[in-house]
């Protein structure tokens, strides 16, 4: 299993086939996604002007993206004034190097981490091991994945693919805990005991960031378990890694996202804990704060007028839960820390549409549109999927097929001729995907005696 990152080890088709064979996974996933979807619908229904709110969320993000240079510089200035330090990282490697150098300066061998997909994107944990620094995940699900040497399969519920018995066995083996039953309450208690000591003794924490406000220099993290508060409050040194697209222009913009995110994500009115801080506060929390602004392909996406809206994403995971493909194959099939519909457009774009395996992701969709409907910042994912498909290499055989159909379709007379001949008609029909992959699970429709246009012509005579 891959330890993170965004480079799929294989094509989506192959990975999905494998995932579909795992019936436990499908059951866990089906149950989890159905539950969250139903909850999300009622959480959203509580907000009468939800559609206007989505438009506002999209608008604020678009404004930020249209003025990114000024906002990032303003953010840096505000954080610096408040006693923090801002770093800029072009690539994953640069970001990892910055974290490592801060750890080394403080002679830290172990850092505690708040769940952060951005840190998984840059494969931080693995990168830090080169400097003999161990990163300990403190989010329960991330801890489960880390102990199991497994990668997260969902943005919000990373261990969605594991059930309670699997987790109990894991904790017994890795934490030495003993349990009377597999009750989630007991399993959570074991994690609490194990991590409490880490929180009280760790000198340095690493986190992501849900957003940062340029106007004030305020950084925000939303969470549920309190591990975030522990990491953001108790260590002496805090390093937060944030994609450059996460900046918000104004302090007042925070309210739109505090309303959009929890309802779309955990389907709650509000998540249990939200922390916000600006630089360093004497006598309260870490006395050294670093924010790393990460590009890692984002500015390339920004340069694409159609792909750009991908950068509005607030990582809520609503699109995963509603996606009929994700519901069946799960997150690992996408081969990247960004799974589901958003991953299908974000991953290949972060890799500049140059990774052969990642380029199979835009095809991992029926274009059913459920993701677009659920997206709190109105990212038109189906449209971007279609757009990106053009940027991928096609096989010679496939290309030949489509060129043949194109030649027929671009010539009405030829098309009429093809339709006249039933057999040839059937061969045109085969381009709709007959052959084996079709007939393995589906029968062919009956081929009619005459086409519509033949009927029309006969009737006119």
């Amino acid at each position: 299993m891959s330890g993170g990152g965004i480079r799929p080890a294989t094509t989506f088709t192959k990975a999905a086939r494998l995932a579909l064979q795992n019936s436990t996974l499908r059951q866990n996933l089906g149950f989890a996604t159905r539950t969250i979807c139903a909850k999300r619908e009622s959480a959203v229904a509580e907000i009468p002007n939800w559609q206007e709110l989505r438009t506002l969320g999209a608008g604020i993000k678009d404004e930020a993206l249209s003025n990114l240079n000024e906002l990032l510089v303003q953010l840096e200035q505000k954080i610096t004034e408040a006693g923090g330090t801002v770093h800029w990282a072009r690539t994953a490697e640069e970001a990892v190097e910055i974290v490592a150098s801060i750890a080394k300066r403080h002679e830290v061998q172990e850092v505690i981490k708040v769940k952060s997909i951005t840190s998984d994107e840059i494969e931080l944990n693995q990168g830090l091991t080169h400097d003999n620094i161990i990163a300990i995940e403190t989010d329960l699900a991330e801890l489960i994945c880390q102990l199991a040497d497994d990668s997260p399969s969902h943005i919000l519920v990373p261990a969605i693919h594991k059930n309670r018995d699997e987790i109990r066995e894991l904790f017994e083996r890795k934490l030495g805990s003993t349990f009377d039953s597999s009750e989630p309450k007991l399993l959570a208690e074991a994690a609490r005991i194990y991590l409490r000591e880490k929180f009280l003794t760790s000198k340095m924490a690493v986190s992501g960031a849900n957003y940062a406000v340029a106007e004030t220099g305020t950084v925000c993290i939303v969470e549920s378990e309190g591990n975030g508060r522990m990491c953001l409050t108790l260590p002496e040194v805090l390093v937060s890694i944030m994609g450059i697209e996460k900046v918000l222009p104004l302090w007042e913009d925070v309210s739109a996202f505090l309303r959009l995110l929890p309802r779309s994500s955990t389907a709650e009115r509000m998540n249990p804990y939200t922390s916000m801080w600006t630089g360093v506060t004497p006598g309260d929390g870490p006395q050294e704060f670093h924010l790393i602004l990460l590009d890692n392909g984002r500015s390339d996406i920004l340069a694409d007028a159609t792909g750009r809206q991908t950068l509005r994403c607030i990582r809520c995971s609503a699109c995963l839960n509603v996606c009929p493909v994700y519901q069946r194959v799960g997150g690992h099939a996408y081969g990247s820390v960004y799974p589901g519909p958003i991953g299908a457009i974000l991953t290949p774009q972060l890799l500049q549409m140059a990774d052969v395996n990642a380029n199979t992701l835009p095809f991992a969709s029926t274009l059913c549109g459920a993701c677009y409907e659920a997206c709190p910042v109105k990212i038109n994912i189906p449209e971007i999927l279609i757009y990106l498909r053009e940027k991928t290499e096609k096989s010679t055989a496939e290309s030949f097929g489509f060129q043949t159909v194109y030649r027929v379709m671009s010539n009405p007379r030829l098309f009429g001729l093809v339709l006249k001949n039933t057999r040839l008609g059937a061969s045109v029909a085969s381009t709709f995907g007959l052959l084996k992959p079709w007939t393995n699970s589906r029968e062919l429709p009956d081929i009619p005696k005459e086409s519509f246009r033949e009927w029309w012509r006969n009737r006119e005579q």
Partner: protein, 192 residues
């Protein structure tokens, strides 16, 4: 060219056309205390509506003789409670319960916000002990998230609390209390 210059140059080169979001006018609405209470309780936090006179006895009975921690500037004395010296994190872990004030309550979501000013203490105080008792005055409750955001000072260390800590990471079964306080009592104090 350093990394900062390189990133800024790439963003510049992306030539994103100017866009301005259409932010709605802010509306001030009267807050419903009943709705606030209901929503706090929805998170399985315990809500107590008390008068100023009932406040101290209610706290005393909730603390129930356990080791109690209070921040500076709470405004009244709880018998047997210790003020933050400040204590080390290890020492904080020895306390059973913390009593604090708050900055704002939000009706829309049943959220309380702590901003670290007088009577609220630094963030570790309301985090490490397993039981948090939080005092909200009626006048502190606002209707919406917008109003709360407008009322608080962004540059203070802010903690939004909506019920006790929770996880749904195992089979989506909600478990209260992972790392933060497992018990949250909110005392809503009326004006009379």
């Amino acid at each position: 060219m350093n990394s900062k210059e390189a990133i800024l140059a790439k963003i510049q080169a992306a030539q994103v056309p100017h866009f301005r979001a259409n932010r709605p006018q802010r509306k001030e609405l009267p807050a419903s205390l009943d709705a606030f209470c209901e929503r706090v309780a929805d998170y399985r936090a315990k809500l107590h509506s008390v008068t100023e006179d009932q406040l101290l006895p209610t706290i005393q009975s909730l603390v129930n003789g356990r080791r109690c921690l209070v921040p500076l500037g709470l405004g009244f004395t709880i018998q047997g409670a210790q003020e933050d010296k400040p204590f080390s994190h290890r020492e904080l872990a020895e306390f059973d319960v913390t009593v604090t004030l708050c900055a704002v309550g939000i009706e829309e979501t049943g959220t309380i916000i702590l901003d670290g000013s007088e009577g609220q203490g630094r963030r570790a105080l309301s985090l490490i002990p397993d039981h948090h008792i939080c005092i909200v005055r009626e006048s502190q409750v606002v209707a919406s998230i917008e109003e709360a955001i407008q009322r608080i000072t962004p540059t203070r260390p802010l903690t939004f609390i909506s019920g006790p800590s929770a996880t749904s990471d195992i089979e989506l079964v909600r478990v209260e209390g992972v790392h933060g306080p497992r018990r949250l009592d909110v005392l809503l104090v009326s004006h009379t």
